[in-house]
Amino acid sequence: MQAYEPKIICFSCCFGWGYLTGRDVLSVKIKHWIPVICSGKLDSTHIMKAFREGADGVLILGCPDGDCHFQDGNYQTRKKVHLLHKVLVSYGIDPRRLRMELGTDPEGDTIPKLIQSMSRELRQMGPVKMTDHAVEARP
């Protein structure tokens, strides 16, 4: 039997993460990587949809505090993450499955490492087991 490998969707800000490396190069290294124009562009619906469609974890990479190209997009999303943690619990999704890291890495070398470290934690937790039966609808 194949070892369980958590599926982590990684949204990263184009202005802070991996902008010096070609997108095609990084997307080979990073599975389920979605660069976005700003972490503030992320809506709660995107994160919920990711879990709905089978993600075991969502990792959001934003720019350092006070360093957002669009003033405060990272701050806006961090507030959403705080509230989302409280909402996900009710659906049976452990809040540790949604993580937001602030920082910058123009080459994007640390992105696979961050995903690996999150994977280690998620592997111990196993697949998402949602309350009720939403889990049945997952592919």
Partner: protein, 326 residues
Amino acid sequence: MTKKPKVAIYWLGACGGCDEAIVDLNELLLDVASAIEIVLWPLAMDGKYDSIKRLPDGAIALSIIHGNVRNSEHEEMARLLRAKSQIVLGFGSCACFGGATGLANFCGRDSIMQWVYRDSPTVENPKGETPKPVSTVDGNTLTLPEILDHVYALNQVIPVDYYLPGCPPPPDLISHAITAVLEGKLPPRGAALAPQKALCESCPRNETKPPRIDIKEIKRPHEVEVDSHVCFLVEGVICMGPATRGGCGETCLRINTPCRGCFGPVEGVEDAGAKFLSAFASLVRATTDEQVQSIMEKFYDPVGYLYRFTQPSSTLGKRNKVRETV
């Protein structure tokens, strides 16, 4: 004598408030009643399910169905009325989105049954009896509808042609919807027979709203007295208006109560709770992470607020019974 269009009004998992809203049409109900033939309306008249079963398919012009699908009887009646009707109108929040009792999906059927029939402090049930679909008493077999393990919105069980949200829908939208059906002036199928924009658009308090709202503390309605012309969010009181469809007549706002979201998401949005979460988070003003956390801690029971009427149709809570049974 010309044939009047047949209309059925039926309740599934509902409180009866939607029926009351139809009765609240008052004199207009008499005009409506003279233009149609009501074949089924359990609240107002006697009727037998068999008489509906005997009708040919598509014989009913309009079925107004309110309530969610929670037990096997609801499911059976929803399917029967769908087969016999040309148009099905999902009436009220329960039919449209699952409604307030859809919050039961956060607990699951078994834990609810255990609480209600075993664990609740006011229960005395030494034999541990629970309702069963079939039971035998003195040699007689008694049957009850079986409670499903999930609360479904109507369109998760049968195809629904039109939606009229609200808890309950207001009389002006009801009369507008019935007239539109009788006159054949209906929008494309699948539409909600209500305005498309958010409640804030028509909210009388919108005029005094400042250009920017900064929430530094979340307050519950009983903790602050909000002036009748001031936006609730300005005072830190959670009001679902920004993510809720308008058209309700702002009845809650007029009695100084914040919007609770009974009209569901605006046009094109699936999950009103998620949208409100994003909107609300952007209004919270704090300088440090700890401050954000301490403000959000006062957002008690967030899913209760965000999904008070829409859990069964939310992104993470929806489940499709049509697909499950095919």
